[in-house]
Symmetry: C2
Subunit: 360 residues, 2 copies
Amino acid sequence: MTNKHLYGLILAGGRGTRFWPKSRKRRAKQVLDFLGEGTLIQQTASRLSVLIPPERLWILTNNYLRDEIVRQLPEVPKKQILAEPAQRNTAPAIGLAAHILQSIDPDAVMGVFPSDHYVSKPKRFLKLVKAAYREAAQGRIALLGLQPRWPETGYGYVEFPPGEAAPGSTNAVRVVRFREKPSFEDAQAFVAAGNFFWNGGMFFWRAGVVLDQLARHLPKTAGLLAELPKFGSRQFGAKLAEVFPQCENISIDYAVLERAEGVVGIAADDIGWNDVGSWNAVYELLPRDKEGNTRRGDLLPYSSSGNFVDVPGKLVALLGVKDLVIVDTPDALLIADRHRVQNVGDLVKHLEARKRDELL
Amino acid sequence: MTNKHLYGLILAGGRGTRFWPKSRKRRAKQVLDFLGEGTLIQQTASRLSVLIPPERLWILTNNYLRDEIVRQLPEVPKKQILAEPAQRNTAPAIGLAAHILQSIDPDAVMGVFPSDHYVSKPKRFLKLVKAAYREAAQGRIALLGLQPRWPETGYGYVEFPPGEAAPGSTNAVRVVRFREKPSFEDAQAFVAAGNFFWNGGMFFWRAGVVLDQLARHLPKTAGLLAELPKFGSRQFGAKLAEVFPQCENISIDYAVLERAEGVVGIAADDIGWNDVGSWNAVYELLPRDKEGNTRRGDLLPYSSSGNFVDVPGKLVALLGVKDLVIVDTPDALLIADRHRVQNVGDLVKHLEARKRDELL
């Protein structure tokens, strides 16, 4: 298989309020560097680059983030970093990319990747991505299933036929069913069963297949996107701004994947995947001292354990405190119970309600 | 009684490491403003000013703090704000002041006041101070006893004869005994007994009485101070720098008061006294919201209670945290369990051990 028809689409339109105060409208999770190894989107592009060079990498983001992403990915041609005129979830975004790629390369095979996940074992990851591309090149819809490590209720699951999915194998397996965020009991059963995998939001298909599927399952959006003139033409931007906001606000999972026939999956083994879903996830990725405090910056912990500290430029002294998340920025300081950081988004809602736009 | 022989001596040589990171060598507790009502030394001077105008107010401090105190108390003549050449506890400091005052006014009666305590009811306080001065003018050694509000083991107590001390009365009562920092059991018994009062470190006596007592109980220090030339002379500073470091390092309580005959006390009623001994004491003096978080600055508390926050210039968001002390400065941030802040001094010792002089 030649790689020259393989394209990467990185979805980078998310807001990521769970990383406030570091994340803001113009500094969402994907453009932040949590581990000192580059920002999440830089790591995503770099991880793919062996298979997909920058000239075949496309990025969809929003107007708040585009300039920052252009700055962070100088190797990616600017015209391939697009701002969606409105937030419309993944189906219209993927449709738009498919529309453009199809006009550039009728044999385009596209892989869709979140911009804000972490993968510590990129070689294993790429082996599986290659396998998925191979399936997609043959006209199938393929996805990566991630081996579940705990009964997470916040993720979607894909069900493979019992006994067929061998984690780490590059053989594709038929997807029996999609199971959106399950109850805890169901999640426990899924993990125990062994044939349920996390849906990591990575999809592989020919651009033409995407367009066909959209025409079938989401005809209004497909029709709107079909009105777009040739990419690169003078009218493209204005027309996109007109039609995109009229597209349905729906995920590609609901709109297409769960309704399509013959979706296949590649079952991943341990690729060191982490969706970096909260400050606590970052805490768990970082090196820590023997009391479990993150080893970073100028920290003086005293009778203190389990603390995540991200305070640049000054000494932080801790006295008798446990399991805190402490994140400082020039205009806002967060101090949270590390076991409650899934509620950081609620703080952001409070700030929105109070019209504290300067902090959003 | 005329006031013109009444002098105030404010002792302002303390370091106050318990208020790190706000307190430093050059910004000790007494020159900090915790309540937005002026710094503690400014409040001390202001509280006394009805009885003791600035021209009869003297301040003993150290070289680190003198400039700041001169700046904070512009109404006090500069020459009356003296830096001790070495840290020698209260006995040599009070002896030095007595030596100077005696040479200026042979009828000088001096009241000694800590620079870093808080008194919320200054009128009642002044009534008692006046009574103590009256005793002192007649040649006695007088002190203020503070009605104990809990069995504190960190303070010294003075014992009055049972049944004689009527809190708030301006009648002086004989001091039976001094009891230094007691055990908790003893402290409980003292509070229950009703005739034990906290020693607030406020003493009243004629300058001549101080000098006589020192000559008797601390002859070496008395002799050294007697070598000093006339205050204001060109040789004074150099001689002070020579003799002061040779003085004994001892408190006036141990050196004189506990050995002197006929010490009397004025038993205070509720004068709103607080020695502001820790961040927790400041917390208790400040207004708080109904969840017990201090109402100050730009605070967004969410499922959080009992927190003390002193972070200027930015929003502080709290999520699921309880009873924290959060104090920010340009070069250091402290996050402590509010019930452990008596150990802040230990943090400072760690910084000293690590030679972090820039933070001390």
